[in-house]
Amino acid sequence: MTVKIRFFARFRELLGTDIMTDVAAGTMFTPLITTITQKNPEGYAAIFDEKGAFCEFVILMKNGKRIDIADAAKTPVVDGDEIAVFPPVAGG
């Protein structure tokens, strides 16, 4: 099954966007993003902390619905899901 991962702002600069990836049934949100981001150490470090958890400010969405960081590890992804990962941009 295939899911689409979309990164925004700085995450997009580091990791690209609209990444289509094949996932096994039962794959959870957090390991999926971990695997994808590990291809770029700087991208990974922008999204995950040193313990491998999502940085607390990262916004996660699945099909337009917010996923709480605390729930991401136990939220499964299914075929056709569109996942968005983005940082709040702070400049003014």
Binding site: F8, R10, R12, I59, M61, K65, P87, A90, G91, G92
Partner: protein
């Protein structure tokens, strides 16, 4: 009532919204938090549109490194207070409006007082702690917060109507780390103009506001996207607020 000069100045937009719309803008008071990258285009466009009173607040001096984006300030203003520079330019841009420029750091002790009786707050800040403060003031006063943020070629904006839409804390519960962010001037130009456009529509009471949606701009791809955003019923800032408004309406 409008002077002959005002009628001429606003002629082309009064074709859109008439005397009544222009009167609404003239009676309005908008609080612009920040006279930097976002605050520059926001305040310039609100001034030329004829928003009657603009309060603009900033605590910084104009620095050479500001000038790639902060179009209210010129080379000759380096070292001047941003508020003095902003006030001078906005008064020249439109002498028929009132500009109040306040040189102060917005903090928890003064935020509500600074906003005063304003009809709306424009978030043109460069950090989340102050944004959260403005969010709280908007919620307490039940006035809109027009949010914008930028990074490099990327930007985001949304219009927050307390009690009806997600507030800033619902959308961004945790602040990202502080940093010196890269930016090219067109990015705050685009996002600031979106914010000013939202203010004008809100004051006119027309069009569809950027509510319950986060507008996301990617200047590298020239793509604008939006993400639906929802209220967090357990939000520490606005949770339970809708109930209060509903209860009041029932009375």
């Amino acid at each position: 009532m409008f002077s002959e000069r005002e009628r001429e100045r606003y002629k082309r937009q009064m074709m859109l919204f008439g005397d009544e719309g222009q009167e609404r803008l003239k009676k309005a008071h908008i609080f612009v938090a920040g006279a930097g990258g976002l605050g520059s285009p926001v305040s310039i466009y609100l001034a030329v549109a004829g928003v009657g009173t603009i309060t603009i607040v900033d605590m910084d001096l104009v620095d050479q490194t500001n000038l790639n984006r902060q179009i209210l300030h010129f080379d000759r203003d380096i070292g001047k207070k941003k508020t003095a520079s902003a006030e001078e330019k906005l008064r020249e841009i439109n002498p028929d409006i009132t500009v109040k420029a306040i040189d102060v750091k917005i903090d928890e002790t003064n935020a509500a007082g600074l906003v005063g009786e304003a009809d709306g707050i424009v978030d043109a800040m460069d950090n989340y702690p102050t944004r959260y403060l403005l969010n709280e003031v908007a919620i307490a006063k039940e006035i809109p917060l027009f949010h914008g943020g930028i990074y490099g070629f990327y930007g985001q904006a949304t219009t927050i109507i307390p009690g009806m839409t997600p507030c800033l804390k619902c959308i961004f519960p945790k602040a990202p780390p502080m940093e010196v962010f890269p930016v090219v001037g067109v990015t705050p130009g685009i996002i600031g103009t979106v914010q000013a456009n939202e203010v004008i529509k809100y004051l006119l009471g027309s069009g569809e506001l950027l509510t319950n949606r986060l507008f996301i701009w990617d200047g590298m791809q020239t793509r604008a996207e939006e993400i639906c955003v929802e209220r967090n019923p357990a939000c520490v800032a606005c949770g339970g607020m809708g109930e209060k408004i509903t209860a009041r309406k029932k009375k």
